[in-house]
Point group: C2
Chain length 405, copies 2
Amino acid sequence: MSLAKILVAQGGGPTAVINQSLVGVVLEARRQAGVSKVYGARHGVRGIVNEDFVDLTQETSHNLELVAGTPASALGSTRDKPDAAYCREIFTVLQAHGITHFFYIGGNDSSDTVRIVSEEAAAASYPLRCIHIPKTIDNDLVGNDHTPGYASAARFVAQAFAGANLDNAALPGVYVGVVMGRHAGFLTAAAALGKKFDDDGPHLIYLPERDFHLDEFLRDVKATHERYGRCVIAVSEGIHDASGAPMLAKLAGDLERDAHGNVQLSGTGALADLLCEEVKARLGIKRVRGDTFGYLQRSFLGCVSDVDQREAREVGEKAVQYAFHGSRDGSVAIQRVGYYSVDYALLPLADVAGKTRTMEDHFINEAGTDVTDAFRLYLRPLLGSGMPDAFRLRPNPVEKVLGRG
Amino acid sequence: MSLAKILVAQGGGPTAVINQSLVGVVLEARRQAGVSKVYGARHGVRGIVNEDFVDLTQETSHNLELVAGTPASALGSTRDKPDAAYCREIFTVLQAHGITHFFYIGGNDSSDTVRIVSEEAAAASYPLRCIHIPKTIDNDLVGNDHTPGYASAARFVAQAFAGANLDNAALPGVYVGVVMGRHAGFLTAAAALGKKFDDDGPHLIYLPERDFHLDEFLRDVKATHERYGRCVIAVSEGIHDASGAPMLAKLAGDLERDAHGNVQLSGTGALADLLCEEVKARLGIKRVRGDTFGYLQRSFLGCVSDVDQREAREVGEKAVQYAFHGSRDGSVAIQRVGYYSVDYALLPLADVAGKTRTMEDHFINEAGTDVTDAFRLYLRPLLGSGMPDAFRLRPNPVEKVLGRG
């Protein structure tokens, strides 16, 4: 029996639990018979073509467990999206090092990379087992009930809106919080889980699954402000008009585009500022504040769902088990069982790669400005244990003596 | 013995622990002999002139404890800064309701309100005991080692930068995080406590205690980026040039000003975006991202220092004890004892009111771009127990086979 050599890498945006998956792969791979080496590539596929490997066979289990509990990609990540020539470079390096099993932890772009690598390996008759391990805070991988990383980011968004709502109740006005998610509104929708009492915010939620109309937005904000004396709004960075043009693109003409041709939506506060200006100017409301949650929602140290941690660990373990005890390449997927547990499946790479899931219609209310109870029921168990709660004083009004104002 | 009637209110920006102080006042006041009523004013001094009171004598201890653990001002807050006429309105209401003790929880503006109310009450021979209870995430009250609310916000900032540093290490580039603090850099400086390893960010910290020079900033960012391949920067919203003009004011001419004549610095992502544009345009660095921490740093539900909670509770209790067992009005102050405990003092209102503490020189390094170990030692115990920690893989490089790139 020839010895197996494992290569694992992390791609795309970091999450709070992606290192759980990494450590799941490493520890499970080290338990397999006949595995001589477990390598990690630094900064994803870029580390492969650069032969930038670290030997994870020489890392202690103790430190691996500590790294598993640390957010962001411990091996480093990349936004590179390999083309055919890039993939040939990958093969050259994999062959030179005798790699037999390749695990890539990432989102839909990364799954597409695994698909290309898998297909090219087959075409070149190079014996390589390729497994994609799901990871994305956007929750936009098809075939998955949800994706590792989403739950912890969702928990951050829910806790952020729960706090922002209390702040806004103390100093009333309009508050706009802009949340990550280019095409899928799952993370923005998590804001709804920060709401406890009927009059709590977020009062309005705007998702990329629905067209955004500035006039309707202003009408809704005005009505909410008149009703409650304040208004808390969750907005996806990916909101767009009926033509599909991002609202942010209407603000600035000269936007940065990444290697995938996508406009840069994160890392700028422009969308929140634009919406606040519109509310101030057209509704005449004085106190209007906007926050862009930015990188905190995926990187904040110390906000994590224990359910997310467990599942992220398991998809890494399952990937190794599929690789060593199964017979084909694929993408590990999470499926929901009961309320609440999960099971795993290995989907064909072509079923997942490069596709984008968006929020299902039954998760969005008819007006398109809130989620449904079906969504609340879907998300609640993912947030994990120990969610902080908010309490308020009960009304015990004192009778006025002077009878003024 | 005539019965005492208590009035407590909350002013200024909410914090994670201001309700601990409120509940400290209420529970301690309800224990005093001869107290008939404990009222809370809704939305600070505005609630007083509007006679908008709630009867906290009719709230359960159980619910008060739950409210104490909830961030943001449970009574509501206000940005009103009363003048003499406003204070006369306050007296009219206090007299009508027979209030004997007034407790106001807030920052330096609120302490000045208490001072005016105290002086006017004395001038009018109206028997009123007035106690100011400290609260501000800015940590800018004179006479205090630190202020309740600061430690929890500092913990948020430290955890945020610890996570942002990991994210930036995974996907290298320049990251700018803008932190609250108009005149005092204490909260921005807390970013330094997110750093663990020598090459971790934040690599540069810019405080309002030092003049900001764009050319020096760009020079420092360039040098850091060349050294580490990345750069994480903490910037106070209050940075200003040598003339004292806010850097943000250089960006936009038409800025909102509040009732105190201050320019609105929070609730907009403009400063981070401006600095990112400068780095991109003048240093030619491609991946440059900016976050403005905004309201999350003071309101996020679930990020709190247990030390901060305890002290915020105690300043409320102490305020009542000073009021009932002391002989003068004043402002409760926190003083550090040993490493680490605290004691309390009642300072004359005029010593605290309307004054602003800024970071002491020995807390800032010579270059003005980092804190000193003295500051780290100062802040560390305030962050409380259970601070999350970050771990990394140890370097075990694999020898290159192809010997390229």
